[in-house]
Amino acid sequence: MTHVVVDPVTRIEGHLRIEAEVDGGFVKDAWSSSTMFRGIELILKGRDPRDAWAFTQRICGVCTTVHAIASIRAVENAVGAVPPPNARLLRNLIIGSQCVQDHVIHFYHLHALDWVDIVSALSADPAKTSALAESISDWPLSSAKYFASVRDRIKGFVERGQLGPFANAYWGHPAYVLPPEANLMAVAHYLEALDWQRDVIKIHAILGGKNPHLQSFLVGGMATPIDPDRQASLNAGSIAELKELAAKARDFVTKVYIPDLLAVASFYKNWAGYGGGVGNYLVYGEYPEDDAAKPALFLPQGIIRKRDLSKIEAFDPAKITEHVKHSWYEYAAGDDQGLHPFKGETLPKYTGPNPPYERLDTAAKYSWLKSPRYDGEPMEVGPLARMLVAYGSGHARVKELVGAVLKKLGVGPEALFSTLGRVAARGIETQILAEKMSDWIDQLAANMARRELRIHDNSKWEPSSWPKDCTGAGFHEAPRGALGHWVHIVDGAIANYQCIVPSTWNAGPRDAKGRRGPYEEALLGTPVADPTKPIEILRTVHSFDPCMACGVHVLDASRRKLAEVRAS
């Protein structure tokens, strides 16, 4: 038995530590620990709820829109503000472009180097690389000359002797199985994606002033004025720009990302047999398509248990609990039961080893993450959960694309419940959203044309218009999964605030009953050829797209109980 520690897990957002027992070449047990804490909910207490989105937005600068969205929805739910249709469309465009850009960055810049060997790319034949690229896509950057220039650029970089961010990695590890040409093609697209992400996110600059940390969110709507007859508003020129950027986003996804994903996956089909995890999936649903109190959602809400796609259960917010048995917090009545988040009462209490340390005591508390549970069960959230719920709910385009991907790889639906399944689901979702963006732009233009210019519900802006004591919840599907914010407002100020975040669901430690979280469960059975170079552990952990800064939060430090909350 070998004890493996991976700390820091790099190519993620935030600070994550994985400890694992490896025996006979496979992971026998695993522990996921988040090693950073800021206490943002404590900082929010007593502040103006209209400011909360800017504070919570800074939980994460990678998925830079998600906590702002969840926050304004929670406060709107509490005070009764109803954003007008244009605000819904602007938000859908912001959320959708965030998801598309974030997923592509994840594939190329955070996850690819687990599958792609840069050193091997140096020995690729540019002509063969060109033939490979042209056999899978009509993307124009595909000539032998182009791939030769990429290879030479990397060669020049390596020959200068300073490997920078590519130093001391696992190059040459037997787990890398792509031929040199596939490696070179992927490296070329790694570089292209760096330029692409910078350009397409201008959608956020147009709609939010800047990225990261867009600044156009408002409780009750959006700050971006719309007026076809004004230079200082979104107008016909902005629509044209948005369309161009959305087309650029869709083009790269369709012609580069998806073909690359399928090409790489075809060499790693054995990873459909690893990383299955807890097999339960939770989705809040996203992209309201109308302005009803319970709007139709483009991607549906639902629960899947024990991988049963034939039964999509309705989501009930009352069934969420959180545990702290193995987290560096304490509950007043003891740490053995889970508490509903409305009754959350946590205080940070670090009981781990003083730094510097070698090992965590995983039998005791070992993470700054809590362990959320739904109806007592650990749940996986994220693109795989969303695609499975949409598939099970009969979403036509999702069914079509999932079917096409499975057919292309020659695997059955059971392959979805795996490390490879997560990678594929993220790609399918990106394709679906990249296609959807132009609909929302068209709807915005149509509103503009008929002079529907409202962007904000001014009737609930002043705190004097709010109930003296109110509570609200805001639900959102972030790129990494189901996100919820809950707020309690008294006399116009935040009395309590809490977030339950995708990476808390996925990366949380064991609960009071000793059940592993989704990362921990997914790592069981993962092969590890060389415990000193555990690249396989990274593959499965990265397939969840960890976002640790998001995951760590504090609930109610004053131990005040929250009143009943109206769920949105």
Binding site: V6, P8, T10, R11, G14, T35, M36, F37, R38, G39, I40, L42, I43, R47, R50, D51, A54, R58, G61, V62, H109, I118, S149, F157, R160, G164, P165, F166, N168, A169, L194, D195, Q197, R198, I201, K202, A205, I206, L207, G209, K210, P212, H213, Q215, S216, L218, G220, G221, A223, T224, P225, I226, R230, Q231, A232, W328, P348, Y350, L453, N458
Partner: protein
């Protein structure tokens, strides 16, 4: 490589960049930095050196927003910096190695390149719980910062969290978070590049400045480079004429809002915020917050989470003045120069929540970069 061509020219050619484009880029960089045109050649020379300076990027109590901002850089791009300009030996978000292999790289750089490498720090440094609020590889952020920044040629605190503590240090500062200057006192060549996040173009401009002059630009009393933080948002705002004409947005989406009137009454902190957003804007010059109809939240100023909130409350009425007088007063203070920020901040903190005084170091007198270069401190 063609026979008469230098190695640098060959690299330019391989990257599809003409000589002419390269020289034009150096001109743009000179103007971002507000340098005389005569220094373009110096910038070009510095960028052509084949030995790449080493950069180590540390992340502590952060959101990776500054890392993401850096990835949006256009002049030069992140890819050019990572592959061609600097050797980015350690950066958790992008590096291929993980775990002990990653930490080995850092240890080797700190040991072998002592006094030579540049550190960028992103995120605040917690001092509570013996440092357990942020550990990497089992070591606390404070332990890492002391060692790595202590051996660096220079430390750049990027973003408001690293510069001044930022969001984690906002009242009641649950983890005892500090900016680099307060957590590791006495560092040589410390530069703050605040804002939430720092603008990519300012990050790259600072890097280019350093490569060009082998020195750092003159700073204000908050250790911010004057080239990026020397003027208030308000002074350079495209809506300034509406302020001067007392034309204000009164409600979100009203006609003045759609027309682009001044956002002062909606809470804009432009008059007391010093940064170059109006000129360089964001995301390759696409837009900026005021350009999309939302007030400035003052994110480049120390303690803005406490001193600039509530964000939608307009700047405070100074006791003894009416509102109109107050607007003019603050406008005048802002134009009077950096020192006026103290006065204005003093007023704001009096009215808003107080988090207690923070030590402000006495700044060195600003050094004119041109003068310094001409005196022989050449790259």
């Amino acid at each position: 490589m063609k026979k008469s061509e230098s190695r640098f020219d060959a690299e330019l050619r391989r990257r599809g960049v003409s000589r002419r484009e390269f020289v034009a880029f150096c001109g743009v960089m000179a103007s971002t930095l507000a340098l005389p045109r005569s220094l373009e050649a110096k910038i070009a020379a510095a960028l052509q050196k084949s030995e790449k300076p080493i950069l180590v990027w540390l992340e502590f109590q952060d959101c990776a927003g500054n890392t993401e901002s850096f990835l949006r850089a256009t002049k030069p791009t992140a890819a050019e910096i990572v592959l061609d300009t600097l050797s980015v030996d350690y950066h958790e978000t992008i590096m291929a190695a993980a775990g002990h292999q990653a930490e080995e790289v850092l240890a080797k750089t700190v040991k072998d390149k002592k006094g030579e490498y540049i550190v960028i720090v992103e995120g605040s440094i917690p001092t509570g719980a013996n440092g357990a609020y942020c550990t990497i590889g089992g070591r606390s952020a404070l332990q890492i910062a002391r060692e790595v920044c202590g051996g660096a040629a220079a430390t750049i605190a990027v973003g408001t969290c690293a510069a001044y503590g930022g969001l984690p240090a906002a009242s009641p500062n649950p983890t005892g978070a500090l900016g680099v200057a307060d957590a590791v006192p006495g560092l040589k060549n410390l530069i703050n590049l605040p804002a939430c996040p720092a603008n990519a173009e300012n990050i790259t401009a600072l890097v280019v400045y350093y490569l060009t002059f082998k020195s750092f630009p003159p700073l204000d009393q908050y250790k911010r480079p004057l080239f990026a933080y020397g003027k208030s948002i308000h002074d350079n705002c495209e809506r300034r004429a509406h302020f001067d004409a007392s034309q204000y947005v009164e409600a979100w989406g009203d006609e003045p809002h759609r027309t682009g009137y001044c956002l002062y009454k909606m809470g804009c902190k432009g008059p007391v915020t010093f940064q170059n957003c109006p000129q360089i804007r964001w995301n390759g010059g696409t837009n900026w917050p005021i350009g999309c109809g939302h007030p400035c939240i003052g994110c480049a100023e120390p303690d803005f989470w406490d001193k600039m909130t509530p964000f939608y409350q307009h700047l405070p009425n100074v006791p003894g003045f009416g509102r109109a007088a107050n607007i003019d007063k603050i406008g005048l203070l802002a134009t009077a120069g950096v020192a006026a920020v103290f006065a204005t901040h003093g007023v704001i903190s009096m009215i808003h929540r107080s988090t207690g005084p923070k030590a402000v170091e006495t700044p060195p007198p600003p050094v004119d970069p041109v003068e310094k270069v001409e005196k022989g401190d050449r790259p």
